[in-house]
């Protein structure tokens, strides 16, 4: 069966060019960058080259890039690191109700240790109001954290405006840019961020590697203590093959992302239009225009997301849902609830996230298959008749 992968926000396949770049760094160029002989310096050279590449992609300086084990570690380091570095100044952190769990759960952890957390609401499209951020700032505020784009509904947040507010207030500003770096242009100076989280496997790099941008002069308490790697900011022998893979993914993204974003946005719009035309009682989630080029998220009334996913999977189509039935937690997606959707509708959400290998025919296949699946499940649904 031809499989159509439409869950690129979850992860992407590592590109063959990336794998090829990584391979020599397992057994040939195997050195520890902390060693002064040839092998060590060879590995160190490779790491520093990637640092420069990542910095260039986001308009930073290479010494402002710290390699991590991925987006989750980058978010953890940013928030815990800045919270404990600034605890004498204050204990208030402002974030939003639609952040990834890598931010929300860290905030919950910090809340249990005496920090005060403000979780800002969003509008029906998932947008944070910069004025809400401004109003929430107190003399105790030490961190503002707002994601660049939401992973579920694809809404791109007004990070630039929030960055300006944070800077005027002298508050450290963090943004989780895991869904945007490598897909759309990201400039740390335009966004006015002090901290920015990056993950390689979201843009065709390997899993288990990412980076945290740390603006010069931003104080962080390290998460990892040990050796003096990463200028004492992140102890532990560097994951050289993965870092090299990140570098290759960054290089390729830098060359291709403009065209690719345009191509995916076209496929996205075609899929959205087709779904809303072919399926009644369906609605788009997220912002109509301020959205990631690859994100389609719809509510299909009267049916439950897991049965949609399972039926799609039987046709070889891989997608995702905000329904709780697909996970162990009883609550549907916190993002969809924050958009103001009733829980029963949030259970019927379906997310398709496009990628490099998707084509027109993939979109057409979804449009051919999904209406029948929805009709079949609706014929079984007791909700349809009661709401008619």
């Amino acid at each position: 069966m031809r499989r159509i992968y439409l869950d690129h926000a979850a992860t992407t396949p590592t590109r063959p060019e990336v794998v090829k770049a990584m391979l020599p760094f397992f057994s040939d160029a195997f050195g520890n960058p902390s060693s002064i002989y040839f092998y060590g310096q060879e590995a160190k050279g490779a790491v520093e080259e990637v640092r420069t590449r990542v910095a260039e992609l986001i308009g930073a300086r290479s010494e402002e890039i710290i390699f991590t084990s991925g987006g989750t570690e980058a978010d953890n380091y940013a928030l815990k690191g800045a919270a404990y570095a600034n605890e004498r100044k204050g204990n208030h952190i402002i974030t939003t109700s639609i952040e990834h769990n890598a931010v929300l759960e860290v905030c919950k952890f910090l809340e249990g240790r005496g920090f005060k957390i403000t979780r800002l609401p969003v509008d029906e499209h998932g947008l944070v109001d910069p004025d809400d951020v401004k109003r929430a700032i107190t003399d105790k505020t030490i961190i503002i954290s707002v994601m660049h784009a939401n992973n579920e509904v694809g809404t791109i947040e007004p990070v630039e405006e929030i960055g300006k507010i944070a800077r005027e207030a002298g508050v450290c500003f963090h943004s989780d840019a895991v869904q945007t770096v490598g897909h759309i242009p990201v400039s740390v100076d335009e966004l006015k961020v002090d901290l920015l989280a990056i993950s390689a496997h979201k843009f065709y790099g390997p899993k288990g590697v990412g980076a945290l941008y740390v603006r010069k002069g931003t104080n962080l308490v390290p998460l990892m203590h040990g050796g003096g790697q990463e200028k004492r900011r992140r102890a532990g022998t560097e994951n050289i093959p993965a870092i090299v893979g990140l570098g290759k993914a960054v290089e390729l993204a830098g060359q291709e992302m403009g065209k690719e974003a345009e191509r995916q946005a076209y496929l996205r719009d075609k899929l959205i239009k087709g779904l809303l035309e072919k399926i009644d009682h369906a609605r788009l989630n997220g912002h109509p225009t301020r959205r990631l080029p690859n994100n389609v998220n719809v509510i299909v009334d009267f049916v439950e997301g897991e049965s949609l996913l399972l039926s799609l999977d039987s046709e070889g189509i891989c997608a995702s849902t905000g329904s709780a039935c697909s996970s162990a937690s009883p609550e549907p997606s916190h993002v969809l609830l924050a958009l103001g959707l009733p829980a029963e509708q949030a259970h019927g959400s379906l997310r398709f996230t496009l990628g490099r290998e998707n084509t027109d025919s993939d979109v057409e296949r979804v449009l051919e298959v999904l209406p029948g699946i929805v009709a079949r499940l609706r014929a079984m649904s007791p909700l349809l008749k009661t709401q008619k």
């Binding site: 709780a324 039935c325 162990a328």
Partner: protein, 133 residues
């Protein structure tokens, strides 16, 4: 369908009942109707029974929910057909799970819902009966 898929947590029987559910639909003039669950939790089951001389001669369902919810609804309607009301009342969620060759632990609540729907339908039948069955 290949063996390699995200849904390998489900038994073949669950998948079979999900793809080809038995007894789907509403019933005209049912003798008992059970409606349980809550759309807010992502599960709603409606179960209809037809009773003649104390025996359940037909059962149908409509379900909003995941594959496990649909499969358990399908299975429970199969299990009650031909049983006396007393026998049907003894069908437990465990028996439904066993008949489906098991359910993943996070989905066991779906079988509880199926048992509840059946009990509610029978209760409705008893309440509607002019004489005790």
């Amino acid at each position: 369908m290949s063996d390699l898929n995200l849904w390998s947590q489900y038994s073949e029987k669950v998948m079979e009942h999900f793809k080809n559910p038995r007894n789907v639909g509403e019933m005209e003039n049912p003798d008992g109707v059970g409606r349980v669950g809550d759309p807010i939790c992502g599960d709603v089951m409606e179960l209809y029974i037809k009773v003649k001389d104390g025996t359940i001669i037909d059962a149908k369902f409509k379900t909003f929910g995941c594959a496990a919810a649909i499969a358990t609804s399908s299975m429970v309607t199969e299990m009650v057909k031909g049983k006396s009301v007393e026998e049907a009342l003894k069908i437990s969620n465990k028996a439904v799970v066993e008949a489906l060759d098991g359910l993943p632990p996070v989905k066991v609540h779906c079988s509880v819902l199926a048992e509840d729907a059946l009990k509610a339908a029978i209760e409705d039948y008893i309440n509607n009966s002019p004489l005790p069955p």
